[in-house]
């Protein structure tokens, strides 16, 4: 069993404020791993550290045995790690198709080439169209991303994240702001597109977590207080104390 992503004693402070306080985590290849925790626990910061958006204050991050601490986001992405954003971060002035195509160009090997027309690149076209089909936006191919509905934009967000064929996918609150039916749809989408990949997911919706996750880690005040299978986490006393009733409430609603 290989380890896809490891964090070794990662710390992050902004000035004198400690956000991440010694996080060590191991995500196995092919598993669906959820990270939960109360607001302000540092989940988004953790993502930003792993994807290279912020530098770590100390500690190591290792992707498939290779250290990626301190690398630039584009370099980390090229090594097979891709992330989505909590606040939708797409190319608003491009069509759905062009958005996805941007995510395909580098992995398809075209890089900075300025001698061939993208319109004529068949492999790029095929991969982009395939991804559009999978996220269900094929019929909205030429619509400007800025005018899509919120749920469609979230789907596009996921589409851009997986289009490049990354093996480790980080999703940041993918179902945030969705209605119940949209959420169910999104969960199915996530399940389909992450087959054979390693998924790390930050979520607040407990129903989604227990539906998708193989293992859960609980992040509170910048520290992981528990990691394990969903059933174990649910009955963990420390976790219950940290959430104080939110689990039971969510179980009620789910």
């Amino acid at each position: 069993m290989t380890t896809a992503l490891e964090l070794h004693d990662v710390h992050k402070s902004f000035g004198s404020t400690k956000i991440i306080n010694g996080v060590s985590l191991e995500v196995r290849a092919g598993e669906r791993h959820a990270i939960i925790g109360p607001n302000g626990a540092g989940k988004s910061t953790l993502y930003n550290l792993v994807s290279g958006r912020f530098p770590v204050s100390s500690g190591k991050i290792v992707l498939y045995g290779e250290e990626i601490t301190g690398l630039k986001p584009c370099e980390i992405n090229r090594k097979g790690l891709s992330r989505s954003f909590q606040v939708t971060n797409i190319f608003h002035n491009m069509s759905v198709y062009e958005n996805i195509r941007c995510a395909v160009l580098w992995p398809a090997g075209y890089r900075y080439s300025f001698w061939s027309r993208v319109g004529g690149l068949k492999d790029v076209q095929r991969r982009a169209e395939e991804t559009m089909e999978r996220i269900g936006l094929a019929r909205r191919r030429d619509v400007l991303a800025g005018v899509l509905t919120y749920a469609e934009q979230r789907a596009l967000e996921i589409g851009i994240t997986i289009a490049g064929g990354a093996s480790v996918v980080l999703l940041d609150e993918p179902t945030a702001g969705m209605s119940r039916s949209e959420t169910a749809h999104a969960v199915q989408l996530i399940r389909d597109v992450t087959v054979g990949k390693t998924l790390i997911m930050v979520e607040h919706d407990m129903g989604v977590i227990f539906d998708l996750a193989d293992r859960i880690s609980v992040l509170v005040y910048g520290e992981i207080i528990a990691t394990g299978a969903p059933a174990d986490i649910r009955s963990n006393a420390a976790v219950q104390e940290a959430y104080l009733g939110s689990f039971k409430k969510e179980k009620h609603d789910a």
């Binding site: 994807s51 958006r53 630039k72 986001p73 584009c74 370099e75 992405n77 090229r78 891709s82 992330r83 954003f85 971060n89 797409i90 190319f91 608003h92 002035n93 491009m94 062009e98 195509r101 941007c102 995510a103 160009l105 580098w106 992995p107 075209y110 890089r111 900075y112 080439s113 300025f114 001698w115 061939s116 027309r117 993208v118 319109g119 851009i160 289009a163 490049g164």
Partner: protein
């Protein structure tokens, strides 16, 4: 701002453009017109190269003249060497030397300037521009100081009757390079780099997270843009047969910025339009009035305030009306608004010209135009022009309201149909 390559019947469009280029000097035959057309041709290349940075890459540069100017200097030296017989090279391909020189400096300065983005990049480009300008004045040995480097484009034997002595031959050289450069720059927008430049412009963070180093993308875009800027510099060297510090000045950089913006940054053909309008403004207007730079600045500021997509955006807004054959409904509103604008313009021009005349020491304060003359030192002309301006602005206010109501009505009709 949205970037849209024009994609209606592409071949027809390119063919028509080429035809216009070929036919233009046969329609406008005066030598004055020929000079202007030639300048427009090379300025179009310059403006398009500038829009590679601004419109496509999202990089606002205040120092783009550095690449065209230095390209021009290198081309001038090459031309002088060719004239002395140091090496044989067709003058027809001289812009290539300018382009390569421009590209060399693009690599040098681009490495430094693209380390930052946004406003910081703009300021750095300004600083590099000032630095190069100062250097040009500091080394008169290579740059010829204030007087610049002069050169002669008639070199060696005429090839098939073409010696580039006559201005018409220079025009066709410029036109050919212009067409080729236009096609090349358009093709670049359709490549992987071109697309990712757009992506980096719209959302640099996301572009990083799909595997692209945004700094590299911007750097490469700048290097390619500086090549075409150098080409335009080489053409300018051939056309004017002199290169001076003005070619690398802040004024030149500002000029191409203004021209591109007036034409329309979000559209590929915007800078083409802007270059034509700008050169016309500068060359034709500067002969008539000393205040042409003021009028240009006023025009530019009004465009920033009211039409930031440039003339191109204004034109394109009319396409749906053209398709629905309802363009004639705008005839009256335009007539009224046009009249109001003319009134206000007459007032502004009158006031500005009078101020200029008064501030000129030793010049008579009497301005004589065909049919009428007035003394700027007396009150009546001031009152009249002031009144014209006020009346014009008031009329414009109502004409604009009428226009927008009519526009709105036509749009509703079109949507209902």
């Amino acid at each position: 701002m949205r970037y849209q390559p024009l994609n209606l019947a592409r071949w027809i469009l390119w063919g028509a453009t080429a035809a216009v280029f070929i036919v233009a000097p046969l329609v406008f035959t005066s030598s004055f017109a020929l000079t202007m057309l030639t300048q427009m041709g090379s300025f179009i290349i310059f403006a398009l190269s500038y829009n590679m940075l601004l419109g496509q890459g999202g990089m606002l540069s205040f120092g783009h003249a550095v690449y065209s100017g230095l390209g021009a200097y290198i081309a001038a030296h090459a031309l002088n060497l060719m004239g002395k017989g140091a090496f044989a090279f067709p003058v027809t391909l001289l812009p290539l030397i300018g382009g390569l020189a421009g590209m060399l400096f693009g690599v040098m300065f681009g490495y430094v300037t693209t380390r930052r983005a946004g406003t910081t990049f703009a300021l750095i480009s300004l600083g590099v521009g000032e630095m190069v300008f100062a250097c040009v004045l500091m080394f008169p040995g290579f740059f010829g100081g204030e007087a610049g480097i002069s050169t002669n484009r008639v070199v060696g034997k005429a090839f098939l009757g073409v010696s580039y002595g006559p201005a018409i031959q220079v025009y066709y050289l410029v036109a050919a390079w212009c067409l080729i450069s236009m096609a090349a720059m358009f093709a670049l927008t359709q490549t992987s780099l071109g697309r990712m430049a757009n992506a980096v412009r719209d959302n640099p963070e996301r572009a990083e997270f799909v595997g692209y180093d945004t700094q590299k993308v911007r750097f490469l875009q700048l290097v390619l843009a500086s090549f075409f800027a150098g080409v335009s510099g080489g053409l300018s060297c051939i056309n004017f047969e002199i290169v001076s510090a003005e070619n690398v000045s802040a004024l030149s950089s500002g000029g191409v910025l203004i021209a591109t913006f007036i034409g329309g940054v979000p559209f590929f053909f915007g800078p083409i339009l802007g270059a034509i309008v700008f050169i016309f403004f500068v060359v034709a207007l500067s002969g008539f009035t000393k205040a042409w730079l003021l009028y240009l600045g006023l025009f530019f500021v009004l465009m920033v305030l009211y039409a930031p997509g440039g003339l191109a955006s204004l034109l394109l807004l009319h396409i749906p009306l053209l398709r629905a054959r309802r363009l004639n409904r705008l005839a009256l509103p335009y007539l009224l608004a046009g009249g109001a604008v003319l009134l206000a313009l007459a007032g502004v021009i009158g006031l500005v010209e009078m101020i200029y005349r008064l501030s000129e020491q030793g010049a008579s304060t009497v301005i004589s135009l065909p049919g009428v003359s007035f003394d700027a030192a007396t009150a009546p002309p001031w009152l009249s022009f002031g009144f014209l301006l006020m009346a014009g602005l008031a009329a414009l206010h109502f004409a604009a309201r009428f226009f927008s109501r009519r526009w709105h009505d036509v749009q509703t009709e079109i949507r209902a149909a």
